[in-house]
């Protein structure tokens, strides 16, 4: 009997522009994954949007994948349904279509108790000679497949494994303890794969194995030869990417990643839409992670200290160098970090009832497109004093970039200003009458929020000290 082990991909189902199954791309993806060395393919699972496919469509996807795989790797067809009869029909079909095994999700929506769940799998197992893999995914089904039921089902000849996508390690350990010697335990939650394999899981069925099949194969092999050090470094290198897949959009996120890699897999079906479970900001984070992993090519960009003299860097706000000198406005600049996390800050400060107030508002309201500014807060509803403007000095092209600029960078500027007030570098009596303007240069590709926060804080603090240095004397 087939004993699943290794790396299996829970295939996405590609669609055409008309939202029909895209056979060509499905075949292309199948080939790609087999070349990358996966142990098998799982069409029409959760990642394959089986709940949005008609029975006919599900059968067709199975046919295509079985045909394209052509015996090179086993195909485990997703044949789950909320009813036993529905699952039965699909299993029969999978058998005729030539699938090597089936993956059957726990009944969902109207939730059966242990008795009903047992009977469901029991009847399915008796109806077919195909090997069956049980499937626990409480995030979607609303309940766990209880360990006691799994224990009893493991006695049945053609129940050969269980995929656990709960990510719940105590549950997985319970499975390993109770049935690990009889059936294959497969992990289905990308974030805990290493922990599961190290504990004795036989393999994995993963959504992210569409995108990074080779990393999973390497990780699997490393664990198999006892090289946990290597396995650990692989898992950590992909952790952020797979966390996004697991928690910020599942299928939608995986499809976005595949599109960035050049697979025209189309959209997910309604009601899943971009900007729903997957926000545009997080979508951009996916691209950066793929760049870091060398899966897509980054666009090079360099950010340097502005070359003009500091006093001339506020002309776009109608503040000329001579005005700064004449009115004794305060200016300062600061930089910190290197490479992609380099941050540079220019700072201008003065009384808000004159040209500085006007420039402050001009920067906020009349910014050039791509240079939209904010009034600095350390968190929403905690706007700092003196009022401080954060203006990007490098064009902002997407929402992820704004979430960096107006996230960690903004907070760092705000914190630096408040700390300067607390430490009397900015005199307290100026907090109601002054306005501060900062111009921030950050590399558009920068993504390490922690380092960016630290660098922006240092750069701002230095700029403030330079600008207000005279006040203490």
């Amino acid at each position: 009997m087939f004993q699943p082990k290794g790396v299996y991909t829970a295939l996405v189902t590609p669609y055409t522009k008309n939202n029909e199954i895209n056979e060509e791309v499905l075949r292309e993806l199948t080939d790609f994954l087999i070349e990358k060395g996966v142990s098998g393919l799982v069409p029409v699972g959760t990642t394959g949007e089986f709940v949005y496919l008609s029975e006919e469509e599900r059968k067709r996807v199975m046919d295509i994948v079985v045909d394209e795989a052509n015996g090179r790797v086993p195909v485990i067809a997703g044949t789950g349904a909320s009813s036993t009869l529905g699952a039965l029909r699909l299993i029969k079909y999978a058998e005729d279509a030539g699938a090597d095994a089936v993956l059957v999700v726990t009944p969902y929506y109207l939730r059966a108790a242990d008795k009903g769940n047992f009977q469901h799998f029991y009847e399915l197992a008796n109806s077919t000679d195909l090997p069956i893999i049980l499937y626990n995914i409480p995030q979607c089904t609303g309940g766990f497949l209880s360990r006691e039921v799994v224990e009893d089902l493991a006695e049945i000849e053609n129940i050969v494994g269980i995929k656990d996508s709960s990510g719940n390690l105590p549950y997985l350990m319970e499975l390993l303890e109770k049935v690990g010697d009889r059936i294959s335990i497969l992990v289905g939650y990308d974030e805990v794969v290493l922990a599961a394999l190290a504990s004795g899981a036989k393999g994995m069925i993963l959504a992210s194995a569409n995108v990074i099949p080779d990393r999973w194969v390497k990780l699997y092999e490393a664990v198999a030869r006892g090289d946990l050090e290597t396995a650990r470094s692989i898992q950590i290198s992909i952790q952020k990417l797979v966390r996004i897949f697991c928690r910020h959009g599942g299928n939608v996120a995986v499809k976005e990643a595949l599109k960035m890699m050049g697979f025209d897999v189309g959209k997910s079906r309604r009601p899943l839409v971009k900007g729903g479970v997957l926000s545009p900001e997080v979508r951009e984070e996916i691209r950066l992670e793929l760049e870091k992993l060398g899966i897509v090519q980054p666009k090079p960009s360099v950010v340097e200290t502005p070359s003009k003299p500091l006093q001339e860097r506020f002309q776009d706000l109608n503040i000329e160098a001579e005005t700064i000198a004449r009115e004794k406005f305060k200016v300062g600049e600061g930089s910190a970090g290197q490479g992609v996390t380099f941050v540079h800050i220019d700072l201008l400060a003065g009384p808000k009832n004159g040209p500085i107030g006007e420039a402050w508002l001009r920067g906020l309201i009349n910014a050039a497109p791509g240079y939209e500014a904010v009034s600095v807060v350390v968190e929403p509803n905690l706007m700092v004093k003196p009022i401080t403007l954060e203006m990007p000095a490098v064009e902002v092209k997407n929402l992820r970039q704004s979430s960096i600029l107006f996230g960690p960078i903004q907070v760092a500027i705000g914190k630096a200003v408040l700390d300067a007030v607390e430490n009397n570098i900015i005199p307290k009596e100026l907090t109601e009458t002054y306005a501060l303007i900062t111009k921030v240069s950050v590399n558009p590709e920068a993504s390490d929020r922690r380092i960016l926060y630290i660098n922006a804080y240092r750069a701002t603090t230095d700029a403030i000290k330079q600008a207000f240095g005279g006040c203490n004397q």
Binding site: E281, G357, E358, A368, P369, V378, F406, L418, S447
Partner: protein, 495 residues
């Protein structure tokens, strides 16, 4: 029913603390007088709203004693004497009995979650140790465990177990209580959001956090229900629903104290780790203020607006302790407003307010003359008519689609316009000043917004908050310095 008096409206008192987080006895006595004047039938010191878990045993005894002393027999005192461990609960209950409390409210044991048997034994031991009447207290949101109805049923056989307070808000649970123990013990509703519904279903009374704030309204609802005027009672419940939803779901003591402080009834701070901006979002505090004003609970005071040296306006307006008595420097005042829910529909407004011949007036004109593509300004109108002060709406996010434009210039605009009109109507912006002032609202609408109604409402709220904060200069510097370390910006962290 074993206790005839155990009914009506009973506030779960907050414990006032001073700036050093010590018990503020004078404030506690003042609060007790306030609620007694409004017609409550009993007071509950040291309940959940009283922050009992964040007080020492000595402090709890002291607060119970003050409550008994200040009530002076005018109303009953039900002391909160619950504890995670049985021995401490017994000690406190006996103490309450000794100093003359009329009953004890005892929460089911928490933290290490006991089973049915242990809950039963806990109450049994306490009941056997005292003659004081005891109310059971079910509040699974904080204890983590529901007292099963069959445990309640069994405990009713004890002579001195006389009632249960159910704060779960779980109607099916409460219906099971009615089925099993109705008439044997008093069934008291402890969840403000369903109070009128619970009374309609047969509850004997109410022990509520919000009865610190609006005891009179709850007494009115209770009496209407007694008279069978259900429609009227439910109409009032609907009017207070937002306020009590915030109180119930945003930390109990925290919003109750914030509300009382805004009403001029000083009850000080809550103890750490509870903090404003944490479990009680800042925006909800602002929203409570709007609702308290609508209910007539916020006092008015004279405020001087020195628009220009030659233009000074005296205005009678709703104030809190942070509201300055004199506001000058109308060159550039900035206020921030943030309103949710729903990430896609959040509203965030940076508002600039100032005189026409200052920075705000000049940038107002400049922006109209030289609009930036994608950020085209629009003068705020309501029903085709410009609102006053003249207000310019400028989109924060570049407009790229027709749908986005509709959300900003139509739905958000409508909310912003209504907020300006209401702010003037309520005297937050004095009507005499509107011809001298202009405003620029920098309005953020997320490109993925999809629910027009929510965008309008959130922008209404955000604009109301922004106007008020610009006028009052909030947050104040001391607040900022106090909160800067714990500030947590949602975008600071990686996905």
């Amino acid at each position: 029913m074993k206790m005839a008096w155990l009914k009506g409206v009973m506030p779960a008192l907050v414990t006032p603390f001073n700036n050093n987080f010590e018990i503020d006895e004078a404030a506690l006595r003042n609060l007790i007088d306030f609620v007694i004047d409004k017609g409550v039938t009993a007071i509950i010191p040291c309940g959940t709203t009283g922050e009992f878990t964040n007080m020492s045993i000595e402090e709890r005894k002291k607060v119970i004693e003050i409550a008994v002393n200040q009530a002076k027999g005018r109303v009953k005192v039900i002391a909160g004497t619950g504890d995670a461990g049985t021995d401490t609960a017994i000690e406190l209950t006996k103490y309450a009995e000794k100093i003359g409390a009329d009953a004890a409210l005892i929460v089911s044991p928490f933290y290490l979650k006991p089973t049915d048997k242990e809950i039963f034994e806990h109450y049994k031991k306490i009941a056997e140790s005292t003659n004081l009447p005891i109310l059971l207290y079910n509040i699974p949101q904080v204890t983590g465990v529901e007292i099963p109805w069959w445990v309640v049923e069994g405990l009713t056989d004890f002579e001195n177990i006389v009632g249960i307070k159910d704060s779960s808000g779980n109607m099916p649970y409460m219906m099971a209580l009615f089925e099993k123990v109705y008439g044997k013990i008093s069934i008291i509703c402890g969840h403000d959001e369903i109070a009128t519904a619970a009374l309609a279903a047969g509850a004997d009374g109410l022990i509520l956090a919000s009865a610190n704030v609006i005891p009179d309204i709850w007494v009115q609802i209770y009496n209407l229900m007694l008279e069978g005027k259900r429609e009227e009672a439910f109409a009032i419940q609907r009017k207070i629903q937002t306020l009590v939803r915030i109180i119930t779901r945003r930390g109990g003591a925290l919003p109750v104290k914030a509300a009382l402080n805004m009403m001029g009834i000083n009850v000080g701070k809550v103890r750490r780790p509870l903090m404003k901006g944490g479990i009680l979002p800042y925006e909800d505090e602002e929203l409570m203020r709007i609702h308290l004003e609508a209910l007539g609970k916020i006092p008015k005071r004279r405020v001087t607006f020195e628009i220009k040296p030659e233009k000074v306006i005296e205005s009678e307006t709703y104030v809190i302790s942070e509201t300055p008595t004199k506001i000058n420097d109308f060159s550039l005042r900035v206020g921030e407003g943030f309103a949710s829910p729903s990430m896609a529909e959040i509203a965030h407004i940076d508002l600039a307010l100032g005189v026409k011949n200052g920075p705000v007036g000049r940038i107002f004109q400049e922006t109209l003359k030289n609009p930036k593509p994608g950020h085209e300004p629009m003068i705020v109108k309501f029903d085709g008519e410009e609102v006053k002060p003249y207000t310019l709406l400028v989109p924060t996010v570049r407009i790229r689609t027709a749908q986005q434009a509709k959300f900003v210039y139509e739905y958000a605009m409508k909310g912003v316009a209504k907020a300006v009109i209401d702010s003037v109507k309520l005297g937050i912006l004095p009507s005499e000043a509107v011809d001298h002032l202009v405003m620029i609202a920098h309005v953020f609408v997320h490109p993925t917004a999809s629910n027009p109604k929510r965008v309008e409402i959130n922008n209404y709220k955000a604009m109301r908050y922004a106007i008020r904060k610009a006028i009052e200069g909030r947050p104040r510097l001391n607040e900022l310095l106090e909160r800067k370390e714990s500030a947590r910006h949602p975008f600071k962290y990686t996905p």
